[in-house]
């Protein structure tokens, strides 16, 4: 362990022996080659690269530590903010970033350059912060939809990209492996997504249709097969039809989905923004991870802002009857009270000026 940090020194080749090492991407708002303009998604939203979904999927697949290998893209010099984003993007989701410095920073640190040393200190502070709060990522992730897949083989692209792009769409999801469904796998969810290329097994079909009959929603494609229930007309999004089944709905795409971006965004509307767990204003591109403590009286909402400059006058609406909120950041790790306003079954929290990362701790 490096002094005054939580940075663990390991041989990268051995990282997999105590856990799982996976290849990730250098996270952040993807810049165009000119560097001045951010690339945009198909509807003009800035495109964000992230490893948070990968950290969660890997942890769900493999017990033990998850290491993300995500070096600076093209060894281009990273800003201190980018290093913070990179570390938080993995750590907030429970993984650890395999620290890889760009050459300029490494040379600067070796040469005792004050700016480089300051950047290095910040990486150390961030690693210490996340080590101290590792428990947040181990609490129960709150979710609106379940993504059912094996996330492998012919379903790897669609399944994995759905997780990635649901994060971008601000949707909170649960990873549900179709081959190891537990009885409570769908408990508490509003909807499930099934976009695999192969039809569901009889057992999966039975469990999901029971979920629908009790009030849930299934969003799927013709591969699902015949569905009982009564056709109730077109869905809120063009290209889908709806069937009423028990207290719930089956929303069927007209054709097999081929674009996870479209499916992720369609699904958010099909489920409805009414059920958003977290809404954020003035945040720019952001990601949130909402976890509930085992006592259910405490929660953490970790917020990551991908722009190089932290948000200005941002506020966050979090579902839940929370009475008290505090905020911690890498720069100010001690929890500070923040203004909270009750809005029915949710609260709105007004953030002070923060950098790229903030954690809200909520108490009921």
């Amino acid at each position: 362990m490096l002094r005054d940090t939580a940075i663990e020194v390991i041989d990268p080749a051995a990282a997999g022996s105590g856990g799982t090492l996976v290849k990730g991407v250098w996270p952040g708002v993807r810049m165009s080659r000119r560097g001045a303009d951010a690339d945009a998604g198909p509807t003009g939203v800035a495109w964000v690269d992230s490893n948070a979904w990968l950290a969660r999927l890997t942890a769900a697949r493999h017990p033990g530590a998850v290491w993300i290998d995500a070096p600076p893209e093209g060894n281009r010099p990273g800003t201190p903010q980018q290093y913070l984003i990179t570390m938080a993007d993995s750590a907030a989701a429970g993984a650890r970033w395999l620290i890889t410095l760009d050459n300029a920073l490494a040379v600067g640190i070796a040469g005792r350059d004050p700016k480089s040393l300051a950047a290095w200190r910040r990486i150390g502070e961030a690693s210490r912060f996340f080590a101290e709060h590792a428990g947040w990522a181990e609490w129960a992730p709150q979710a609106v939809v379940g993504v059912i897949s094996d996330f492998a083989g012919t379903n790897e692209f669609m399944g994995q990209e759905l997780l990635n792009l649901l994060d971008r769409a601000g949707q909170h999801y649960r990873i549900v492996f179709k081959n190891r469904m537990t009885a409570d796998a769908l408990t508490g969810l509003r909807a499930v997504l099934y976009a695999d290329q192969d039809p569901p097994s009889a057992a999966l079909r039975k469990q999901v249709l029971a979920f629908v009959e009790s009030g849930g929603r299934l969003i799927t494609a013709p591969v699902w097969g015949e569905t009982p229930g009564k056709l109730s007309g077109p869905a809120a999004v063009p290209g889908y039809t709806e069937r009423a089944l028990g207290k719930g709905r089956v929303t069927m795409a007209a054709a097999a989905p081929d674009d996870p971006y479209v499916l992720a965004n369609d699904s958010v509307v099909l489920v409805s923004h009414r059920y958003d767990l977290v809404r954020c204003w003035n945040s720019g591109a952001f990601w949130s991870y909402y976890t509930l403590a085992p006592d259910r009286a405490r929660a953490a909402v970790q917020l990551l802002f991908y722009a190089d400059r932290g948000p200005d006058a941002a506020s966050v609406r979090v579902v839940g009857r929370w009475r008290k909120a505090t905020i911690s950041t890498i720069e100010e790790p001690a929890p500070m009270p923040v203004k909270l306003e009750t809005q029915g079954e949710a609260v709105e929290i007004y953030l002070p000026q923060v950098s790229q990362y903030a954690a809200l701790q909520l108490e009921g």
Binding site: P42, T43, G44, A236, V237, P238, V269, S272, H273, R274, D276, R279, C280, W281, N282, S283, G284, A285, F305, A307, R309, G310, P311, D312, A313, A314, S315, R317, Q343, E348, Y350
Partner: protein
């Protein structure tokens, strides 16, 4: 004598001169015959339905009663939800700054229902999406049921694309058009008997002010007129803003009517006011309502790089002629409705009011407009003075929002 102009100032003045020359040639002379009708002004301090409903009901009565206008009719209501619902002025709710307040929309719908409206369609072309309007406003932290439940048969339609129609409605500009001879619009703008514009009282970076007329700029679908519009045919979903109308860097989808004169100025300060007049000519406004209870100064939304203030003028303005109504609202804002390019709030742009008056839509001459309710002097909230003070100081730095 040394030159006092920066290159930017010089270019701006040169552009203004060129536009002015084009303006002199292009403005018809029907101002004298432009109609005048009564405009109602009322003080209203809050959005509480207890205060708002009686105030609005009285205003509509002062205009001759809503029943005369909407009884047994399908009413289309264009509201203003400009910009992303995740982008606020500071910590203020969107409806307190740049969105038409949902309580004003709900009160209008309620009173229309009470007056016998058969169907009320709430219309908007939300930023870069084909999502239902209900979903869009949830992201603004609104409750759609507050509006849908205000009267029987209230519905929303996103008009930024084809929507629930089978084809776009071709709507011609009766006066021939300043820029456009006709538009291809969502069917809702044709499939109605009465068209209502419910705007927010604001300044506007490109058009000087945005009131009931400028609100109608947003009736254009971005699948045809947006940055991502299809070249030959409209796209299925809208993408981006209306840059092609602003700057004319390209034409709309070829399936739609093209500009009358591709050699006309390419400046947004010339094009936007004219496009607005063409739009309200093609889709006439029967009732204009301007929400100035709470709003903002400094521009039309938080993305404008001027100092922005959330303010509470506590006023509503309504009329059956959009030019008359906007003229009275301008006066309430402390501006002269007879102002032309070069004078506030049209320092950089042409006056939409002047252009609309010139084609005979309505007069902007307060001497010809009867004001019912609160006198303008008593309702005045001086945006003009705030503007002068603001512009005497350097602009604030940008934050990260969106």
């Amino acid at each position: 004598m040394s030159c006092q102009y920066s290159r930017r100032q010089w270019l701006s003045k040169a552009a203004a001169a060129a536009s002015g020359a084009y303006l002199a040639r292009g403005i018809p002379g029907r101002a004298a015959e432009a109609p005048a009708s009564r405009v109602a002004v009322a003080r209203c301090r809050t959005y509480s339905p207890n205060e708002l409903l009686p105030v609005m009901e009285k205003m509509f009565d002062q205009l001759g009663g809503l029943g005369r206008l909407v009884n047994g009719k399908t009413v289309a209501v264009k509201i203003n939800l400009t910009g992303s619902p995740t982008y606020r002025v500071g910590y203020l709710p969107l409806e307190d700054t740049h969105y038409t307040h949902p309580q004003v929309i709900a009160a209008a719908a309620h009173l229309m229902g009470k007056a016998g409206a058969r169907r009320i369609r709430i219309l908007e072309s939300p930023w870069s999406t084909a999502d239902p309007v209900q979903e869009y406003i949830l992201r603004a932290n609104w409750e759609p049921r507050d509006i849908l439940g205000a009267a029987p048969n209230v519905e929303f339609e996103n008009t930024n694309f084809l929507g629930s129609g089978r084809k776009y409605s071709r709507m011609k500009v009766p006066h021939g058009g300043y820029v456009w001879p006709a538009f291809d619009l969502n069917h809702s703008y044709e499939d109605c008997d009465v068209f209502v514009s419910i705007a927010k009282m604001k300044e506007h970076a490109t058009a000087g002010i945005t009131l009931s007329m400028k609100n109608c700029f947003g009736i254009t679908p971005c699948t045809v007129y947006g940055t991502g519009a299809g070249e030959a045919e409209p796209t299925l979903i809208p993408k981006g803003g209306r840059g092609l109308i602003h700057s004319g860097y390209r034409g709309p989808s070829k399936s739609a009517p093209q500009e009358l004169d591709p050699k006309s100025p390419r400046e947004d300060t010339w094009r936007v006011p004219r496009t607005v007049v063409d739009l309200i000519s093609a889709r006439p406004v029967h009732l204009a309502i301007i929400d100035g209870i709470k709003t903002m100064t400094g521009g039309e939304g938080p993305w404008i790089r001027e100092e922005q203030l959330g303010v509470a003028p506590g006023v509503l303005v309504a009329g059956t002629n959009p030019v008359n109504t906007d003229a009275v609202a301008m006066a309430v804002m402390g501006f002269d409705p007879l102002a032309v390019r070069g004078t506030p709030p049209f320092e950089r742009c042409d006056s939409t009011l002047q252009l609309a008056e010139a084609v005979g839509i309505g007069t902007r001459d307060l001497k010809r407009i009867e004001v019912a309710g609160t006198p303008i002097a008593e309702a005045k909230f001086d945006f003009a003075a705030i503007r002068r003070k603001r512009r005497a100081a350097p602009p604030p730095p940008y934050g990260t929002r969106g």
